[in-house]
Symmetry: C2
DNA sequence: ACGATATGGTTGAGTCTTCAACGATTCGAT
DNA sequence: ATCGAATCGTTGAAGACTCAACCATATCGT
């Protein structure tokens, strides 16, 4: 029965399935909460947060994409919506004419501040209220290991892409 | 500065952000791997797995929705696609004329079995290879707590909905 | 200085998901 | 037996995301 595939053990399967259940339930819960209580999707909220933490509340599109873990394309579409709502302002970059800045507007900041309490409450209810401090510490370690591992994978993939087909 | 909001501590913020990074990176990694290596979205793969584990490889649509954590609507759309590909077969239920069965076809089983090694390899690379067995055990506990907590929340929400507006 | 290449960002088409509304059927109370 | 409410599943439209293609600009090698 050794076919070269490193199948999961029973325990690993249980953990994997619970992981899938937990992460999807949590993200759905957060999405629903944010949409209903604050009237803004959770992912858009994260974009506004990234901007609010930048100097002058302004970032280059590409940098904003990295910080909010959006693809360039996804961010471009998202900022179009956010601009239409008046929460973000696009301006073109004078030193690099290809580039564009995104800036959090006053209105955007107001929306962000109004949504923040709902957001933190949802995160607490779903995550920190059900874990003791030891578990929180361990979750930090575990997620850190996952991020590091995947960061390596991603670099490897990019390196492959750079090499080209021959 | 006590405004009644239970803001996150610095440590909690760090953990929360790493959690977001880890879960989104992992799901993107898996999605990409499955799409490229096996030519099937990860979520669809999970639907096929759920079916394959049912007696006769058959489930009611609503039950399949619960097991794969799809909304009814999402599942209905998804099964339409899977049926078009010939991987799933819909049949109407004789005892309950509202209902419908979904059955994994032979072709569907073949696709599933072909994709399984790629899937398990991706899960290992992203998760189990970067964690020691102690961390895996703890991840199981933590995700279990999250699932339990959110299950309660969901019941509460449903109960509210049942009560109606007054 | 010039052409090739790389980068920053946008766009449109296609796909997936959500949401609300719907038709059909079953259940429950009277 | 019948009427109202709940359940099962589907549908269509709107929103969000991905992917590939694309312009415009900047950078690099010569």
């Amino acid at each position: 029965m050794n076919d070269g595939v490193r199948w999961l053990t029973e325990d690993e399967q249980r953990v994997w399935r619970r992981y899938l259940a937990a992460t999807s339930m949590l993200s759905e819960y957060l999405e629903r909460r944010m949409q209903q209580d604050a009237g803004i999707p959770h992912t858009y909220y994260e974009v506004l947060v990234s901007l609010s933490e930048a100097p002058e509340c302004t970032l280059r599109m590409s940098e904003l994409a990295v910080r909010s873990r959006f693809s360039r394309s996804r961010l471009s579409h998202a900022v179009t919506k956010l601009e239409a709502k008046g929460w973000v302002i696009r301006t073109s970059c004078p030193t690099d004419k290809r580039g564009a800045w995104a800036t959090l507007s006053e209105q955007g900041r107001a929306v962000l501040e109004a949504a923040a309490p709902d957001h933190v409450e949802a995160v607490r209810k779903a995550l920190f209220d059900v874990l003791d401090s030891e578990q929180v510490r361990r979750l930090g370690e575990i997620t850190g290991a996952i991020v590091d591992g995947l960061a390596e994978e991603c670099e490897a993939v990019e390196a492959d892409a750079d090499e080209g087909p021959g």
